[in-house]
Amino acid sequence: MELTGRIALVTGAAKGIGAEITNGLLKKGAKVILTDINMENLISKTNEFREEGYDVDSKLLDVREEQQVIEAFKWIDEKYGRLDILVNNAGLSPKVNGIRRNTHDIPTSEWDTVLDINLKGTFLCTREALPLMQKGKWGRVISIASQAGRTGSRVSGTHYSASKAGIIGFMRTLATEYGTFGITANSIAPGPIETDLLYINDSGKIDTYIKNIPVGRLGKAQEVASAVTYLCSVDAGFINGATIDVNGGLFML
């Protein structure tokens, strides 16, 4: 299979898009290390995959905590000696009863939490993963950005948009640094995907929203996962520094 022999790590892997990305990588033959901040979800998701016969490992990880991240990657180095694929998926988009806070209502603590998870977490995991990828002279760093970071958003807050636009900038510069080591860096920018994060508390609103999507429907988490597995393949080797939009045509750049 396409990813047989590859070792991958997915952050925020226990739920939603992260779980589907993990599933997609496993189906293509990769070994996947699931990490998540929620122990209960992590254990049950890991067991689920293991029962299906997949090659999985797991590590409880809060991507904001430098020491935890350093230790997690040290553990991977000791156990596996390298890492081929990192998917920076862990992310947060705070809502109150399904509705974002407008900027004048965002407490500093909420702003910090979003930037810590979405941006600092991506930085820390990437920094610690790169030496392990250089060992194998091959690597794929894929970060989940968002349509909210490509344009604006009507459903998520400014902290979320700022962090996701930040991810795109981070990945572009990363792409210029490690190309000669066979390591590519790309982002995926999902649009409206059916997950818990896209919760609009009004069915009339949802209908109007869907009318604006050229393909006439919301996306599925699997459709984000299939873009990730494609970027992980050898076939995608000349794609570097790119942002792949998976949004049904809702925003086209």
Binding site: G179, T180, P214, V215, G219, I244, D245, V246, L253
Partner: protein, 266 residues
């Protein structure tokens, strides 16, 4: 078993270069590939090679700038079972159009003030009008497919201009991006997606020829502007075509996928 099993594909300008690699790769993934080109001789060679490899391929000679010829080609494809994927690959630069018209190959890239109207029209006709004519004729067939796909060939040059491209080519390749977006908007309701690919410096037959005429210093400067420090291979563009044609890309539409090793980041 290939990921394009059961799909019928048309690749325009598919007899040579990147187009041929696309045809080969898609056929290798199980698709039936209709290979279109304007030149008989190279079309025969291409189709023979595909058939020899055991692939399902058929050649169609047609000038895609000729409205009637395009209509005929799609009429035949419809009779042969329809179409799932249209790859609008056929395209030329001023240099290519000039060579096609006069039979003489020039190495210098012409600047705006040096371009004759006939060559300008030639580039616009093939790259834009040809794409329009093929797309218009393909849509009724793609509507009958469950997963209709339009894949257009743009270029890094259409994103950012470039020192090895002429202005007519750059204009059309930027135009392709707009064309692709509007296709996505208009055809999404029929389950048809439309995407463009924007290749960077790819070592195609065309470029090989040009590359050898560049000084070592120029070559080095070009390579240094690419984070991956190498040119791309035609196969790497074909790989992306396969992805966009496959069911894996079902929620991706209206995008322009950059395959440039990181030399332009959009």
């Amino acid at each position: 078993m290939g990921i394009l099993d059961g799909k019928q594909v048309l690749v325009t300008g598919g007899a040579r270069g990147i187009g041929f690699e696309i045809a080969k790769k898609m056929a290798g993934e199980g698709a039936k590939v209709f290979v279109n080109d304007v030149k008989d001789e190279i079309l025969d060679i291409a189709v023979t090679e595909l058939l020899k490899a055991g692939f399902n391929a058929e050649g169609y000679k047609a000038d895609i700038t000729d409205e009637e010829a395009v209509a005929k080609m799609f009429h035949i494809i419809e009779k042969k079972g329809g179409l799932d994927v249209l790859v609008n690959n056929a395209g030329l630069s001023i240099r290519g159009v000039h060579a096609l018209r006069t039979g003489t190959v020039e190495h210098d890239v012409k600047k705006v003030t040096e371009i004759g109207l006939m060559d300008w029209n030639g580039v616009l006709n093939i790259n834009l009008t040809g794409t329009f004519l093929c797309t218009r004729a393909a849509v009724p067939l793609l509507k009958k497919s469950n997963n209709g796909r339009i894949i257009n060939m743009s270029s890094r040059a259409g994103r950012a201009g470039g020192s090895v491209s002429d202005i007519a080519y750059v204009t059309t390749k930027a135009g392709i991006i707009g064309f692709t977006k509007q296709c996505a908007i208009e055809l999404g309701a029929y389950g048809i997606t439309a995407n463009a690919i924007a290749p960077g410096v790819i070592m195609s037959e065309w470029l090989k020829d040009h590359w050898e005429n560049l000084s070592n210093e120029r070559q080095e400067t070009l390579l240094n502007s690419i984070p991956l420090k190498r040119t791309g291979e035609p196969q790497e563009i074909a790989n992306i075509c396969v992805f966009l044609a496959s069911d894996s890309s079902s929620y991706i539409t209206g995008t322009t996928l950059d395959a440039n090793g990181g030399s332009y980041l959009s």
